[in-house]
Amino acid sequence: MHVLVVEDEQELRDSLAAQLKAAGFTVDCAADGVEGLYQGKEFTFDLAVVDLGLPKLSGMEVIKQLRAAGKKMPILILTARDRWQDKVEGLQAGADDYVAKPFHFEELLARVQALLRRSGGWAQSVLRCGPIALDSRTQQVTVNDTPIELTSFEYKILEQLMLRAGEVLSKTDITESLYEQDFDRDSNTIEVFVGRLRRKLDPDNVIKPIETLRGRGYRLSLPRATA
């Protein structure tokens, strides 16, 4: 999952980026509103964390312009001004949730994960598709209740596919959510990871969880379990 962090305070930005990376996210940062807006418009992110008090261009304005540019990723506001008026304005401008400073990272993480699930149409924290279950809080994956060991990349790809279960994800979509912008990308690696993931989830080739759509990408085609 690729997250954009727009925060002007360097220390906070760095620690936020480090903690998000440790939690398995791919993170890009921007130090002011103009930079944040540019990145948000030019690249594809799964989620943005935006501080409201930004230099050059206010967070509120960044959010409005991102939405005006048709960007639909969930946006989480970070705010030091916790007056309701500011919160409501932020949410009206197009943000999806807010966290007041100073925050516990765990709280922020929980909100981020909830927003990602919500944007994929999931209501609960454990995603289930057929026999596969993925718990985004513990990063545990089970097939028919048997835990499966996955590498970080494999987990990220599966999470991506499960969050968007039923939708087709192109290789570019997957690459963008896995790598930071200045990373040297090679789409063949995705094929390799998907191959490994298939073998780990379905050694006997009976579930066939991941479909390949030639020229278009991949799709997790198992039915979503709603409860």
Partner: protein, 448 residues
Amino acid sequence: MRARSLSTRLLISSSIVLLLFFGVTVLVFDAVYRNLSESFIGTRLDLQVANLISASDEEPGGRLLPRDTLSEARYATVGSGLYAQIEREDGDVMWWSHSLTDTQLQLTTRLAAGKRQTRRMRLPDGSEVQALSVGLEWQFPRRKTYNFIYTVAEDLKPYRAELQHIRQQLFGWFAGLMALLLVALAILLRWVLRPVRQVEQEIEAIEAGRANELHGDYPRELAGITANMNALLRAERERLVRYRDSLGNLAHSLKTPLAVARSLASTPQLQEQITRMDEIVRYQLKRAAMSGGTGLGNAPVDVKEIIEPLCAALTKVYAERRLDLQSEIEPNVRYVGDKGDLMEIAGNLLDNACKWCRKQVKITVRTLVTPGTRREGIVIAVEDDGSGIAADQRERVLKRGARLDERVSGQGIGLSVVHEIAHLSGGGVEIDTSVLGGCKITVRLPAP
């Protein structure tokens, strides 16, 4: 007791002065006229006596009788109101006018020659007569002299009637004049006091939020007050805005370092200290940002326009829990006061309710009518179907920073901020059990 209005004072005082003035004038006029008419009667009687004397002829035996040519017709008419009698000193009545017939009027008197006597007498029918008697010595031929008494009396009724008529006219005229003066005075007062009334109306408009300052062109005596009042209103509004801006900046510059510190803090003790610092900063900043003011010069806030975006925002934030968030707002409820305060109250209450509820949250807003005030306040009630707050804990949760349960993230300061704002506005907070099963918090915000 409330002080009487300026125009009432002026009208009452000038009416009293006018009444006194006209009263005295009427009394003086009345007295003057009465004196005048009485002296007029006296003169007339003198004239009648002189006429009678000059028309008297000597008769044999020392008698005097009026000549037949006496021109006064009223002597000959019964009950005409003019009576006369000629009497000799020895009591022998020489002549009396025909008009005296049946009147039982006793004109006989004792009087020496050269004396005059004026009498008032009452007739049996109640009417009053004034009589003038003149004593004189009459020399007959052969040097015989006798004393005679001439008496003429006239009924006072016509004069009295005249006097009464004049009095009525006098009173009528004066009363009319006074009414006219009072009307003129009232009109003048309206004109003179118009600027004062305009100030009053404009202040009312400001109170009701239809205007935010006094616009009228005022006379010199009032211009000072109105200009100062405008300056005060403007200063108050600007102060609040400036104050909140700098508080916002202060919050930002305190919170961000705190957030950094939190991300760096490695021990639970440090985390705990940061939490405490954060709560103190939050609480004190919120407290400082409360207006608690009169709301003078602020347009009344349309409550629906505040609550609905809040509900929409919270529905978004708690989307995952699929809450049933209902709002029941009385149509056209307006809050006279600060928009920020109202938002803090509703936001904190709703956020708490959303955290604690199972599924249902309901906010109700209605007007609060306080007797004796021109403006209306509001009552906000927020209820949920959560586990509620035990009766013995209710007092404590309103106090600063109290938390009943750490399970749900968020700050214990919400309710205490609500409590403080309500208190500042002269209202209060009550915690109750809701029909939904959870807790019901009612905040009363009376009109300032």
